[in-house]
Amino acid sequence: MSNNNRRNTLLTGLIISLLLVVYVAVQLTGGTSKENVRLITHNAFVITPQLQKLFEQQSGYKLTLIKSDDAGTLTNKLILTKNDPLADVVFGIDNTFASKALSAGVINGKLTPTDFGDVCFNYDKQWFAKNHVPAPSSVNDLIKPSYKNLTVIENPSTSSTGLSFLAASIDKYGSNGWQNYWKSLRSNGVLVDNDWEKAYYTDFSGSSGQGKYPIVLSYDSSPADEVRSNGQSQTANILDGCFRQIEYAAVVKNGKNPQGAQAFINFMLSKPFQESFPTQMYMYPVDPNAQIPSDWKKFVSLPTKTYGGTLPINSMREHWLSQWNSIFA
């Protein structure tokens, strides 16, 4: 063999070894067995090691997590892979994507509600006290001149929180009135950010970021996380115009382990897991007997009426967003 050939053989060997390394790594780290329950969920899902151990001990199954951005992405991943699904059980499809998941045929049986939370406006109590402006009590206040340039929201095209409020506003003001509300909101200097992080941490004055806007579109549970050293929360909710987000768990159609999937759904409905929802995922448990943290009892109020939860969000999304974009273009 010539020298050139030896040199090239060395490189060929390197490439073949690469293929082998990838193959071995895949075999060592991937794959599933009947004892595995593969859970696909969004990035906000948290299960403590203790709870995971408890599930694995009680059920005899090993839990594998597949985290996937948000509710929309995980629903779409399931739709894309419906012939050979990448999970046995799904958690995190919410009421804005539920109809899409059901109509696409990716769910085996029904969607089981596990937890809920409300998208509501929060305001900075300190800011309103300091500036001698009465705190807003309704979303109608946000279009009044005295609240000009005080509100920051999220873009409904890019944020699920923003889309939730758009749906709530359509429900509250009706199909003929919601556009006028948004036009007034725009005229009143509402700031639209792409995502919740920027709105809450950069632009909202009541968070750790200490921005300039004292009203933000967030969640009803957020005030419980803004408790200061005096034992009081710096923020409070506007209990009007809220959207109730309900999250579901379900057995994935064509999954390899439907029994394991159902066992995990049952575990999610058990008291230990239900009680972890507020502390781990900032959501209310569906089980009314589950304990919620004392800060939640003290600083979080649930709205008596919510809006938009029953609208056909999935089918109307593009139409509404197009109309909303024409207002904010």
Binding site: L65, Y200, G209
Partner: protein
């Protein structure tokens, strides 16, 4: 026979690329049934992407030129550190700029840039900050290559600094300015983190549009059409790029010329202007860490509610994962890079038609133009069960990261290889040294510098990556960026401080890696 084996090694590398990139991506296109569709929002996203990338390329290259002239050409106390810290900017995840921008948003000048009601201004400023080290790196290398004797000679002929720049420096660095424009245009095309973190409804790029389509209505026709347009734009840019070598480095070449006081002040002002938006909030937090040490220890050990583990444990996991990802990435990049680079170089002397090498080079560059989201979607559809169940393995994340970093690693190695004097080989062959020994004893040591740069690039790209890690992650495989994202997307000062702490540690690690690698790379010169 020799040529046949050479083609075999390149062929195997291309097959690997085919399996890991082209088949998954093609799978997605097949799913669309080649039924392409665009609406008004897509068109405006394409328009925004084009002019935004162009603006970023021009602005960044201008400041890159200024930075390279100031910092790369001056010798003063701390110049090396300044250079290394500036290099870190390139590896800062876009999403973290939210923290930094807020801290300086009310300062003079900055308020106009980061608090502007026209969101494209903060977006362009953010992208300029992130891409500045790349522009400085590309132009800096060309500056370092200018013959100092020529410079002295032109001065002896009575040329002042302006004339020296116009007649000597500028012609010598012109091609690197062009390279900088093109490379930054490339990177800006597929930027996502900054648009998500800084932008608003008026700054919707092709990449962010694809992201939102994946989150929302999953219109495959729109997604594939946008991906094709993104690639076509990149292809056009590549036609300009293909005639030039792409090379860059973060290393600071020691120059003998002592900087004047004015130059030193200018260097520090330049440095502060571009680094404060990123580092100020972290520095402020660092002081808090020092003066409230016990609180910080509590913060580190306290398990934030939204994480499965404490911050310390989460950091250990994420660093471990980043290292594993980086090692796999380096292995893949270098394996593919060396093989393809050898063939590209080989055509110059082997009579292989030039266009074949260009096609090979193009196909190896193409992954750079695709978003991790498109690769991720392809993986979901393709690697299901059986032989390569990649989507069910954590290794899919480092592979995707490796594919994203590979084209630049490849160009770094190829361009260095092309520049080897042919006399080396002729002299070596005359001494009777065999080809393998020549490769191991001559070529490999000469490539060491480029390999180290490529390695450092791979490590830091893996560490800064968010899209691939978030889209392809499985099980408890969180990396620094995904844990940061989890913390910053929840309310409460504990989560906010946790995010700051992770950013601070991230900055330290990136700085250390850049500094150590460049120190080693410089020594090897």
């Amino acid at each position: 026979m020799g040529r046949r084996v050479a083609w075999q090694s390149t062929g195997i590398a291309l097959i690997l690329l085919l399996i890991l990139f082209y088949i998954p991506v093609s799978h997605l296109f097949l799913l669309s049934g080649f039924n392409f569709h665009l609406n008004n929002e897509d068109v405006s996203a394409i328009r925004f992407t084009l002019w935004q990338s162009l603006s970023v390329a021009i602005v960044t290259t201008f400041f890159g030129l200024v930075g390279a002239l100031l910092i790369r050409k001056s010798n003063f106390l701390g110049s090396k550190l300044l250079n290394s810290v500036l290099s870190v900017l390139f590896f800062i995840p876009g999403i973290t700029l939210t923290l930094g921008f807020h801290a300086i948003s009310h300062w003079p000048i900055y308020s106009l840039l980061v608090n502007n009601k026209h969101a494209f201004i903060p977006v362009i400023f953010a992208e300029t900050i992130i891409n500045l080290p790349l522009a400085m790196g590309v132009i800096g290398l060309a500056l370092n290559a200018i013959n100092s004797e020529l410079s002295e000679a032109i001065k002896l002929d009575g040329a002042n600094s302006k004339k020296e720049f116009r007649y000597l420096t500028f012609p010598q660095i012109f091609s690197s300015i062009r390279k900088s424009l093109i490379i930054i245009f490339f990177y800006s095309l597929s930027n996502l983190g900054i648009i998500l973190a800084i932008g608003n409804q008026s700054t919707n790029s092709v990449e962010s549009r694809i992201y939102h389509l994946i989150q929302g209505n999953l219109n495959i026709h729109e997604i594939t059409t946008l991906a094709i347009i993104q690639t076509l734009i990149s292809f056009c840019i590549y036609l300009f790029l293909s005639r030039t070598n792409i090379n860059f480095g973060f290393s600071y070449s020691q120059v003998s010329k002592k900087a004047s006081t004015l130059q030193v002040i200018s260097c520090y002002l330049f440095f502060l202007f571009f680094t404060l938006p990123v580092f100020f909030s972290s520095l402020k937090f660092l002081f808090n860490v020092i003066f409230h040490f016990s609180t910080t220890i509590k913060l580190i050990n306290l398990s934030p509610q939204i994480l499965d583990v404490s911050i310390l444990q989460a950091l250990e996991h994420s660093i471990r994962n980043a290292i594993i990802a980086s090692l796999v990435g380096i292995f893949l990049s270098l394996g593919l890079g060396i093989s393809i680079a050898r063939n590209v170089v080989r055509q110059d002397s082997s009579g292989t038609p030039w266009f074949i090498s260009r096609i090979i080079e193009f196909f190896s560059i193409l992954p750079l133009t695709f978003s991790p989201l498109i690769i991720g979607l392809g993986y979901l559809l393709t690697f299901t069960t059986g032989f390569f169940a990649l989507r069910e393995s954590w290794i899919s994340t480092p592979i995707a990261q490796a594919l994203l970093a590979m084209p630049l690693a490849l160009t770094l190695i190829t361009d260095t290889w092309k520049n080897f004097p042919i006399e080396y080989m002729e002299e070596a062959l005359m001494t009777g040294i065999d080809s393998l020994s020549y490769f191991l004893k001559v070529e490999l040591p000469l490539l060491k510098n480029a390999i180290l740069r490529a390695a450092s690039f791979n490590i830091l790209v893996s560490m800064a990556d968010f899209s691939a890690a978030a889209f392809l992650s499985i099980g408890h495989q969180g990396v620094l960026t995904t844990i940061f994202s989890q913390l910053i997307s929840h309310p409460g000062s504990g989560n906010y401080q946790g995010a700051q702490l992770i950013l601070l540690i991230f900055i330290f690690i990136s700085t250390a890696v850049v500094f150590v690698f460049e120190l080693h790379s410089h020594t090897s010169e």
